[in-house]
């Protein structure tokens, strides 16, 4: 049951991340033309509901997708199982979520 749910979450976040990643890559490649400055980044993101929503969703999806992916690596390449494995997985997801949302707030909210 649990493996089914994790599989569903992994594939669903993958489908969601595909267009988000493409958009992010396009933005990165566009924005780094002729050098990147904080002013340029923040001019785009400060107070923007669009970018706040975009990156907020991105962070949520990545936190789930990355944690489940790391879980598979840990289970298969280090032999971890049970509560230790699930605990680390949850911790990774929370770490990515917290740091990610903090970064979104940093570039979208007022300094």
């Amino acid at each position: 049951m649990k493996e089914g749910v994790l599989f569903l979450l992994q594939r669903a976040t993958a489908l969601l991340l595909a267009p988000l990643v493409l958009a992010h890559l396009a933005l990165v490649l566009y924005a780094t033309q002729g050098g990147l400055s904080a002013a340029e980044i923040l001019a785009r993101t400060r107070g923007s509901l669009l970018w706040g929503g975009f990156y907020g969703l991105f962070v949520l999806a990545v936190a789930i997708h990355g944690a489940i992916g790391l879980r598979a690596i840990l289970a298969e390449w280090t032999g971890l199982r049970g509560r230790t494995l699930e605990g680390i997985t949850l911790a990774v997801a929370l770490l990515l979520l917290v740091l990610g949302l903090r970064a979104v707030r940093a570039v979208v909210g007022a300094p």
Binding site: K2, G4, W77
Partner: protein, 246 residues
Amino acid sequence: MAEAAACGGRMLEVRIWRGRDDGAFVSYEVPARANQTVLDVVTWVQRHLEPTLAYRFACRVGVCGSCAMTVNGRPRWTCRTHVGRLAGDGPLAIEPLRNLPRIRDLVCDLEPFFTRWQRAGGRFVATSTRRDPLPRIAPDSEARRAVDAGIECINCAVCHAACDVVAWRPEYLGPAPLNRAWTLVNDIRHGAREETLDRVRGDAGCHACHSQMSCSEFCPVGIAPTAAIAGLKRASLRHLLGRRDE
């Protein structure tokens, strides 16, 4: 030797695993022939050089799967592996199938493979008796085509040996058992479809597959367990999302 003279004296160096897990490769020299299979080579060694060499074979014509071994790192049927067509110039290296306990020399214990086969529930459950009319199954229906694609499996365990998830997850059912389950799930006569699906979508089941496709790459019968496992993944998702119909 008369044999060596007959083939122009060319010899082939062969390294064969002797012993169990703590054994080692032992080198033998075998007369090289224009057409010989790896099974021919092993047989020659046992008959002329090493009578105590343990190995398995039966039909020697590529229909039973008994002679499966690891040849130059790859799981293969040795009766269907021509020495002349093997890549590389180095000596031929022959050892037992991977991911199975070694009994002796080239023989491994297939019990873990068959235990997984049982655990995956590959047992057909009948729903009709001889008094009922024969069920009509269209051969070109999607379900029947799915069954046909996987029905030729003869349990040779080459896919089990090829799969790295089998190596990394001791509880993983493996390609052949999952492929078998998929053939049952698609058989409209099978009376325990839900039970079969339950057995293969648990923690040790289809979701552990990463589509490395080593099973499909090495299956000597041309089955693609990857496709069957993908089907099971989809069936599992449908069940999760509350849609139990096909």
